[in-house]
Symmetry: D2
Amino acid sequence: MPKEIRVGLVGYKFMGKAHSHAYRDVAMFFSSMKAVPVMKAICGRTEDEVAKAAKIYGWQSYETSWEKLIQRDDIDLVDISTPVNLHKDIAIAAAKAGKHILCEKPMAMNLDEAREMLEAAEKAGIKHMIGFNYRRVPAIALARKLIEEGALGRIYHFRATYLQDWIVDPNFPLVWRLRKEFAGSGALGDLGAHIIDLARFLVGEFERVTCATKTFIKERPEASYVTGLTARAGGKMGEVTVDDAAIAIAEFKNGALGSFEVTRLAPGRKNCQRIEINGSKGSIFFDLERLNELQFFSREDKDYEQGFRTILVTEESHPYLKAWWPSGHIIGWEHAMVHQIHDLLEDIAEDRMPTPNFVDGLKCQEVLEAMDRSSREGRWVRI
Amino acid sequence: MPKEIRVGLVGYKFMGKAHSHAYRDVAMFFSSMKAVPVMKAICGRTEDEVAKAAKIYGWQSYETSWEKLIQRDDIDLVDISTPVNLHKDIAIAAAKAGKHILCEKPMAMNLDEAREMLEAAEKAGIKHMIGFNYRRVPAIALARKLIEEGALGRIYHFRATYLQDWIVDPNFPLVWRLRKEFAGSGALGDLGAHIIDLARFLVGEFERVTCATKTFIKERPEASYVTGLTARAGGKMGEVTVDDAAIAIAEFKNGALGSFEVTRLAPGRKNCQRIEINGSKGSIFFDLERLNELQFFSREDKDYEQGFRTILVTEESHPYLKAWWPSGHIIGWEHAMVHQIHDLLEDIAEDRMPTPNFVDGLKCQEVLEAMDRSSREGRWVRI
Amino acid sequence: MPKEIRVGLVGYKFMGKAHSHAYRDVAMFFSSMKAVPVMKAICGRTEDEVAKAAKIYGWQSYETSWEKLIQRDDIDLVDISTPVNLHKDIAIAAAKAGKHILCEKPMAMNLDEAREMLEAAEKAGIKHMIGFNYRRVPAIALARKLIEEGALGRIYHFRATYLQDWIVDPNFPLVWRLRKEFAGSGALGDLGAHIIDLARFLVGEFERVTCATKTFIKERPEASYVTGLTARAGGKMGEVTVDDAAIAIAEFKNGALGSFEVTRLAPGRKNCQRIEINGSKGSIFFDLERLNELQFFSREDKDYEQGFRTILVTEESHPYLKAWWPSGHIIGWEHAMVHQIHDLLEDIAEDRMPTPNFVDGLKCQEVLEAMDRSSREGRWVRI
Amino acid sequence: MPKEIRVGLVGYKFMGKAHSHAYRDVAMFFSSMKAVPVMKAICGRTEDEVAKAAKIYGWQSYETSWEKLIQRDDIDLVDISTPVNLHKDIAIAAAKAGKHILCEKPMAMNLDEAREMLEAAEKAGIKHMIGFNYRRVPAIALARKLIEEGALGRIYHFRATYLQDWIVDPNFPLVWRLRKEFAGSGALGDLGAHIIDLARFLVGEFERVTCATKTFIKERPEASYVTGLTARAGGKMGEVTVDDAAIAIAEFKNGALGSFEVTRLAPGRKNCQRIEINGSKGSIFFDLERLNELQFFSREDKDYEQGFRTILVTEESHPYLKAWWPSGHIIGWEHAMVHQIHDLLEDIAEDRMPTPNFVDGLKCQEVLEAMDRSSREGRWVRI
């Protein structure tokens, strides 16, 4: 019989919904798990909304205070899917209460917070994970496998963009993600955190960075409420206190060069996370908008047959795919969330530390902080 | 309060699983439905397997006899996800028992069966639907909308292929889909049915067809059991009694020309359902392996700006997408199944006949039968 | 010292220009040819236009009568780049005069003409070639090489479309290509001839065909003159006497299935010649609008690395490419014409019969005729 | 009658050949030019090679001393297609001799040289052009047109890479392009110059830059001769004295952000110059390996029809295309060279200063120099 892991989730918007779905479906597709989730309670401030979410998503109960959720005896794992400004307090309290933690990215508002969180978690001896879900997109997991097998040889280049366009309209309102006090940073933290983590996952540790950030649209209509992406515009204008875009150059400890660019102002680029890695023996390319595909070029193919091959990552021989549909039946964005929950539960059952965990969250935060400082001080910053 | 529709599902393999998932998740994403499913019972011949499926998929109970399932008072809707050879008997019995029906495609082993089924359903006055799920891929629904708006003008060409490669290995065993007594036909019925239905959905009724079919690999190792895609090879060879591939030319009643090609022997084509339509004002192109995209060319764009635009069909303004994730977060193959269940339940709640229904299933069967006859007799066949 | 081949060209419009360019440039890029062209004379009916063409294209002289051109002693090779209705007379006269012949495709107005032409050429013992230029697109030549090496294994499917849209506007005038008396047929002969020849080049001989043709737009404004693509519309309407589109199914002698579709009414498809071949070991895909690329899928790649590779056919290891630019610098449409002239001249110098020659032209004509008959009689026609 | 411009070309390798081809063919395709080239003389150090080049390319005579070429009375235009280290001396001498100049890019070994060249040219009152040929790729010219029309609105982002892989093999020899004394710099000057110029062409002037450069492979086999890409490896190892790769961030005077990356170590990227521009109203994307295509996204399209459209830039309504083949017949890399020569000759005929000219060359050099300094000093450098 699989072990039961009782989950309490804080947050019920975009991330809360995606996590709920993963808990709900994981055991249907991964049918021989060592641990299965029990959806004990979901938590949010607004009672009628969280009550509705509990019902729709399938949670057994709800809470309106995260402090109360954490104190419940029937919770083993606390899932933190709130805006960034709440991560630290919830995580430290959960750790103190001996709960395992899954925390959304970016880990914290700043490096100091991240350090406190890691310290608390380590002291408590709990399992912890950061929600860098893209590590579990099958194509990315396959890329990692190819790199580990040496298919790319020595890595020369890591090149990533994460482009979106959801605030290109100057009348898009001042939601929480555009305010420093809630979000910590803008595109840099939100989008940059993902590609920094993937760089660490696929290439290795950073040595130094230089970075420029920019806020192109400095004022926006104040939102009638600040949570949620879909807030309606009010009459007054407010200041945008985070970056719209950031570009960084990095050097990795292994000598590779990295380039990073994130923006929320690229019309037509909806979720355009693209990653290319060039090594001495080959290259890979990934695009999140076509997340079921991985492009791979090998210099070891016969000379006149060489070309980027588009691997449709839907075969049983591909990571995670055995759980899903027959060959050629593509999966969606949220499936990587299911994989994340799967791996987390297995790790807890097996008493292993998950990855990426708070150490990874912290190291990502170090890079983000270095980029931010570099952009303010106009110089290279060592990690 | 939404109405509850109590569902009994026959079949628990590929289709049974996909349907189960749809019932399980539909109300989580479409949050204001007029009817919600209750997963009453799942049915299959092998008790331990169906029991396990019931548990994993979330069904309240299971049956090992479909006859018994159909007699249960607590079932409103019977979902037929079995091999084709069982469709007729189950459907007719379910109709007689007054149950609504969702039946997988192709509808029947032949046209006579389909006629019997439709007759029974009409006599019983039940709601019926055929599982042509691809009508509910958002990009296809968008294509239909564009056509209805006149964006393509007068239709000249419908061009579809549905290519797979899962039996390209001559040692792939003789599973039920390769035996006429279980499957009725091969690629023609399995893959052809989908693109014939989409042709009817997007262009209109068929006038006449000519067709060639072919079985390239005439013998295969007998499977130790005949259900399931993953059967292991045994020692003896058996005859493949269905087609590996089929090509057809069609004329539509509105004068358009159609071309159709299906095969299971196209290496690298995993689920390559591609549809192109050319009209007097523009064209559209769709590829199921990139199901979140629709290509659209309009002659009404400024002359030097004309080009096929790749619409990433993940916006709130696109069909069904409001239920899912933010812009740019792609959905997977099984989501169209969720849309299908959503629309079916809404139709039942609103006392509307769903589409595609048994009439559509029958008309598709007429075209399949005409193609089959054409291929045997070497001549054009009128529908 | 390379041999000099003295050329006389009949026709100075699209094909005449493309051939002129090839003669002009071939020896600049293929620098160690055994024979080089001397551009002796160009021929056309309208003196001031042909005189201007002679000057611009670099011909030493011009003629206004093809009969006179053929009688000139200083001509070794006659290049027939006229509308189809003139091919036969010129070719037979040229053969009788002992000139080598390059004749544009399709070879003739009908099969009888083609037979006469071949007979005359064989009797005269001259070298003859048909201008199926696409055999010499490097990506197609590479496809042939892969097939000959067995990279695709046994061929199951040949699938080709050739889609254009240049007459989609109903006001496009009735140019010579839309009149049976000048062009012989419409899309079938013009576009179909190319893909039929490529099918023979890549797969082998045809066994039988069935075909449908269609003229969607039956009347068009009469052109003020009938040669040239760019004729202006006059006031009166005239009947379109050739097909706008054709679809055919074929069986090859080796058992493969073929599908063919051509049209001039596919908005956005400008020169969309696409070819896919599926065999037991792999597949290839080609698109003339991206003629520098060949897609190749091999089942012999490691299972989790399989995918269509996009070979950028610009390497020295690729056919013809050594003559051109460094890796990655793409070539254009007209370069295949240069390759054609190169190979023709080398063959003449080496006293070899070129390919494709009048035998290939005739065999293509047999298939075209069978398709035409099939479309008129509504039945399969054996080649 | 068109004016005749008598040309003397220095250099006969890659660039010399490409320029020769352009002079040879330009008047064949642009048939009503106000000035036509006369290919007077080609110049190179090695007599037998330059003599052969003269013959093959179609030059009337040759010289082995550029000084002598420049003194010839029958030369109006000097074309400098040599390694960079010779640009300055030839250009200044040519200017003093009153010849117009076309000089390959990058303009000079350093900024001082570029200044001297410009000064000499301005003093002499000659016409001068720098060979940034990619401005004349039709898709790029179309991009410029769209931007000038305001189709992108306010520009936020310019993003360019120029990736190649021709030295990824560590045994590739130490050719002149890898030695600072001949080439000035590596990927930065060779590839970077192109995308810097395109940034200026499409977005505007640079404000400041920060940059990192890297030489991954520090030693290579010495080449038996140092000119030419295809030199054979000798036994001894020599030091690579230029960069293999460079990444830069830029801010433009108009507030836009720019990112630039060049490398010669990206397996599979053969000539991968990609440019994306994001503005408030739309985006464009270009890839030199598919140079006949321009992708364009417009926020002004109907919301559910928005998508990147792939414009096949082969229509008469597109820049330069009227001179070439019918719609859909793609052109190659060298055609932009033909356009460059066309525009240069027209400018000379009309007594207009060409663009890009030495001022543009100088401004590009300023940016290159700033990037180089930034990379050495580890800080932002103002232009």
